[in-house]
Subunit: 457 residues, 2 copies
Amino acid sequence: MTLTLSGNAPATDALPPVERRAVLPAGFRAGGAVAGIKASGRPDLVLIASTDGPAAAAAVFTPNAFAAAPVRRSRQNLAATSDDARGGFGFAAAVVSTSGCANAATGAAGDADQDAVGGFVSDALGIDETKILHLSTGVIGTRLPLDKVAAGIAALAPTLTADDAAFAAAAEALRTTDSVTKAASATLVLPAPDGEPVPVTVSGIAKGVGMIHPNMATMLSVVLTDAPVAPEVLWGLLRPAAARTWDQLSVDGDTSTNDTVFVLASGAAGAAPVAAGSHAAAALGRAIEAVARDLARQQAADGEGAATLITTVVRGAADDADARAVARAVVSSSLVKAAAHGRDPNWGRIAGAVGNAVTASAAVLEAAGLSTAEAAARAGQAASVDPDRLHIAIAGFPVFDGTAGGPLPFDRDAAREAMTAPELVIELDLGLGDGTGEAFGCDLTEQYVIENSEYTT
Amino acid sequence: MTLTLSGNAPATDALPPVERRAVLPAGFRAGGAVAGIKASGRPDLVLIASTDGPAAAAAVFTPNAFAAAPVRRSRQNLAATSDDARGGFGFAAAVVSTSGCANAATGAAGDADQDAVGGFVSDALGIDETKILHLSTGVIGTRLPLDKVAAGIAALAPTLTADDAAFAAAAEALRTTDSVTKAASATLVLPAPDGEPVPVTVSGIAKGVGMIHPNMATMLSVVLTDAPVAPEVLWGLLRPAAARTWDQLSVDGDTSTNDTVFVLASGAAGAAPVAAGSHAAAALGRAIEAVARDLARQQAADGEGAATLITTVVRGAADDADARAVARAVVSSSLVKAAAHGRDPNWGRIAGAVGNAVTASAAVLEAAGLSTAEAAARAGQAASVDPDRLHIAIAGFPVFDGTAGGPLPFDRDAAREAMTAPELVIELDLGLGDGTGEAFGCDLTEQYVIENSEYTT
């Protein structure tokens, strides 16, 4: 299925088009299998390996203070393979993911379990344990069934394949309670060392956000590319892309202990090395952002109990950080989400949410490109908004114009009808500057409450 | 009805007991009436007046950038009667409240309407317009029916009475969709100028948080006392009390454009003036906090669609600000709220919410007593938490102890049974210091979604 990006992308530089399927870039093998972690017997084990030495790797992790064992192990491994003590980038030769058990809140025993998983992968693929990145998702507070994981890895490792079907199988095994498999791919052209154009692929798979069974949360994604790029440069492309996409995704405001995005670059496309600040880096960054944005939209649309994808597009903000903060506040508002469910063109709730918008945390602002000092100064402060300059459109209907006294007359029945579409677009112009941003969420339904109030066991 | 405060108040200095009824302190008259703003024909107009010259007044207002006309008018009036340019304190001789129309997002016309309301009150009571404080709640984006409001004020003003029943009538007229009238009173003893003990009353009425009809949000409260206290001293008592109580109240994470708390002090009790920093000020502050806390608990229990009051008590935090941030994160988590509804002792969601806790905005931290510089530095930063030191108890059942490896065995059926009580207490010990705090919320129910997804009109 090919997705046609709608005209609501506020980025000045248009992002490249995206195809919603898993396309395995050159330089990787992949596979998914049933290890038996999930009681359902569905695929629950993912392995991805680089075929020609370690790949450059960059990551963003959950800000949750109770990060799970696989998150901490991955950070440590990235730090061990680079000079980045924060664990944001380094080198990796394999990614392993287990679904059904989060290995979170399991203490020192959980750390030892995760290290054992690394040992299984190391034995099966013949690579150093520090070159392995870890993912997991599932129930919090339960231990990994190590015997099953060991057998699963030993059986899966020899079957890893360098084709799209294998990457699709990995996407399938990444799922927990997702209703659909999530994948997105973009292509770009980079110069080879001799200047000839070389096709390059960026392709990602993802799971979440679905918490249909209690404790089964977590947003995970693995993005692969055959572009040749150093870890730190790759990290420099991932962070702002994630700030504009995954950081703008909200299903219910809860951030999992396990959220992780990995980007691995094999360099196998044969292009010239992508230097920081170059046109090639900008093009690669846009492709990574396009994939990230589409995966985030797929995740929002598949949110718990969701019937409608809500996209909020903000223009005219004092700066991009304010635009993103306002967009995030709107898609995160329980009242806006409930109104979307009821097909209610309720601009009062949108205006209220705009008025409550605060800018992001210092970490998010830094990721988006602000200096540490700027980020600290801005963190948690209210975004600049002015009701007398605000313009609101719901599903294409202008409903509020602060420059014209406020509420606008509009055809409520037609607006309600337009709100029955699978995607609801809320457009805001703050009338203050050139800042743009968007955010992705979903409606709040009775089904969300029903699914999340069921008893754990 | 007398409320017995349960043992979950973490304050080191125990708060005085509270009675859940409106007790009009000396020096005030009050009343409520039907002006016809509400289509239902229920009481929708409140007037409260001081009987012996302007009272000292202090206020806290919504941080929403789209503050409604009555909020802006009240700020301006307080600023006009004191040297406090922020509009936090001053003098007031009357409070007027209209229910059914928020007069929010109404632009310059709405400001003019609110000024007309001030004119009606000024004419009816013979007091200066700058000495009038304004409240309103109701539908956003509609205009006040000035003819009805004028007639209502003219009819109500001559009937204002200095007795408890009149204050109870005001509480009744303050309601919009609240299922019960909310009032709380505390008493204390202060020294008269000659040293003899004098009884002093602190009594408050409140509305919200109920958004049973779309756009009918808003938390409003008026607290009256006959203590003699200067406006700035009163404000210094109100702000930390509000930071520990109303700022810790969450029903759905949305903050109204109209939220307002006024405290008025007539001085009519005959006690000696309460000086800043004195024992008398501390006693008065505790009484104000006790009233504020109980009103906040009544508001949480009456949240939209709510069946259960959720109280989170945090001990052992690095400081009180962290404790409050963690408590607020837990009661604000949609997943925790849904689990409470399902009587699910789901400690994984609580741990996840703790890990996501960030400290409050700079404004809240300043209100709680930090310096401006300290507040700016702390704003939006993550609270200090450590999973290996965390202890969680749900409804009295210890379920997680990080110092003992994590999950604890417990009787799930007994815990579920305990969770059927009208109040669910979640107790956390962070194991890091002496900081304490609490927060109040309610469960997330299908009824919340149903009520809030109904069409506006």
